[in-house]
Amino acid sequence: MTAGNGALEVRNLAKHFTIGGGLFGPEKKLVRAVNDVSFTVPKGTSLGLVGESGCGKSTVARSLLRLIEPDAGSVVFDGIDVRAAKGAALRQLRRRMQIVFQDPYSSLNPRRTIQQALEEPLRVHRLGTAREIAEKIETAITEVGLPKQALDRYPHEFSGGQRQRIGIARALVLDPELIVADEPVSALDVSVQAQILRVLERLRDKRGLSFLFVSHDLGVVRHFCERVCVMYLGRIVEQGVTAEVFDRPLHPYTKLLRDSSPVPDPTARLTLTKIMGEVPSAANPPPGCTFHPRCVRAAGPCMTDIPALNEHDRGRQAACYHPETWPGLQAVAAAG
């Protein structure tokens, strides 16, 4: 493994859930929520994780911080094995990797003032004197664009966007190096969404933060992330530089996702002749490439074998036997 370079490296991450079972439930079923997921977030960069609901993107995000314990694979942050960390080492890691949540109404304890919410992590980790702690939280709250007076108030006195800023401030007080942002702007109105994206951009530039940015909104990911991983039914089906992936998608699912995303331009109306089917249940995935029942290009091995995530062009990877072809993009035939 690479030694401390500040990067987050995820290899072959897997998480299975069992549903059902128990005394009342139907038969036990194994749901492979996340399967063989690998990616790297170099220091100071943003990686987007896009996909539709149930594709496993949030599970990946939470597994990295061990809010959910993954079943297999490795997570290495700055040379330290996250999955093996215990006790003090784990607490240390939790300082360095933080999370921002989707729902600003659920992410703050309604009974604690903003001051209490921001102080608590510093006190628990015994970081600094009372004076230093006070300075630190003032810095954090102004950094996210709220006045110091906000500290004495309770969460319910703030709007959704303001709460989201507070949630970001709370993640900041421990001076993390990586932020896992799980749909941080999805619950907000567009005008507020832009405000929050601005705040995150500023933090990335000023503090040199790395981001794993989970979202279902291609526009937001395109705006915020240099690179992107597209997930479908627990697997990464394509990854690469965001603009390239969205402009010239290799995997038919990426193309479908892009073509389905509405753009504010009446001259560019949806031209999809046919969008087939729905996402199958992760408890009962189709054999072979899990996308094949919805795929116009499916043929031959697609029905039986799971395609590997292979390099198709410089820095472009896709898990597809019959990737889309684009002028100027050399299609490297997938091995196997």
């Binding site: 005394l23 009342f24 139907p26």
Partner: protein, 313 residues
């Protein structure tokens, strides 16, 4: 559905074991020598020893437990210390009266409580609502023996409409009904209070659901909206809660039987308590436990019938 039913029935088995174990432990909670407690201070050493052997108290606790479970599973609940009859016989003698009483109470409670509960929810904050809620609160505040005594004083002693001394055993159906009326009404109004309350909160919850708005948007009129769309969904929690109420109903029927001097399990318990007849008491608890488990199981099955989602959960 069948799968669900079988699972539910299987689940009753561990529950029964837990209850039996709890009863076993409870009965052994008697401080000091149980035989001495039963026979009193004056008992001779010989009679004490004899009783200990009869009750199996001279054996180690685990043996006592095993033979207790074994006896229960083979249907042997022991013999009453005072009458010498088997517990099963004692219970069978009076069980019909208790069943008659609780069934009558359930019918009264649901027949009055359900419509009133629906009315309070539909006319929320109207006078029906306030009246219904007040009636239900007062009903819930009565311990069964308090309401029983008040009913007895007013309708039997002062007005003389019903007999003061109840003889449930009368063969004459009219007389039997007259005997049943007051105690059943006593239990019924408490149950009604309970049903009104549960129905109201359940219906209020359902009436605020999105699918009720959908139905209104479809042009469904208020009557059909309440009966067809809201009630069926509202019934789900109502059934559960009414099933859970069965335990309270049994407890209240004990008190009611004592007040109205009606034969039944209640009087049997009181007699056992006064005679320190621990075998009979233990046997009665086991029977109650079995009844409660049976009713809970039935409730869950009914739940499965009303809620299509249960089958697939």
């Amino acid at each position: 559905m069948i799968r669900y039913a079988i699972k539910r029935l299987l689940l009753a088995i561990p529950t029964l074991f837990v209850m039996l174990t709890a009863i076993f432990v409870l009965v052994r909670l008697v401080p000091g020598d149980a035989a001495a407690v039963i026979l009193g201070d004056q008992a001779s050493e010989a009679s004490l020893r004899a009783l200990r052997t009869t009750l199996g108290l001279d054996q180690p606790v685990y043996m006592q437990y095993l033979s207790f479970i074994g006896d229960v599973l083979t249907g042997d609940l022991g013999r009453s210390l005072s009458s010498g009859r088997s517990v099963g016989q004692e219970v069978l003698l009076v069980l019909p009266y208790t069943i008659e009483l609780t069934l009558a109470a359930i019918v009264i409670g649901v027949a009055l409580g359900l419509p009133l509960g629906i009315a309070t929810a539909v006319r929320r904050n109207g006078w029906v609502d306030y009246a219904g809620r007040l009636i239900s609160l007062v009903g819930l505040s009565f311990p069964a023996f308090v309401s029983g005594i008040l009913l007895l004083i007013v309708f039997a002693i002062q007005l003389g409409w019903f007999p003061v001394l109840n003889s449930g055993s009368s063969g004459d159906p009219i007389e039997r009904l007259r005997n049943l009326a007051l105690p059943a009404f006593n239990l019924g109004i408490i149950m009604m209070a309970y049903v009104v309350r549960v129905t109201r909160s359940s219906m209020l919850g359902v009436l605020g659901e999105d699918y009720i708005r959908t139905a209104r948007a479809k042009g469904v009129r208020p009557g059909r909206l309440v009966i067809r769309h809201a009630l069926r969904n509202g019934l789900i929690p109502i059934i559960t809660v009414v099933g859970l109420y069965f335990g309270t109903l049994i407890g209240n029927s004990v008190l009611t039987e004592i007040i109205f001097n009606r034969p039944g399990l209640g009087k049997l318990i009181l007699g056992a308590l006064n005679a320190r007849d621990y075998t009979l008491l233990q046997g009665l608890m086991i029977i109650f436990a079995i009844c409660v488990i049976a009713v809970n199981t039935l409730t869950d099955l009914a739940y499965g019938l009303v809620d299509p989602r249960v089958k697939y959960k």
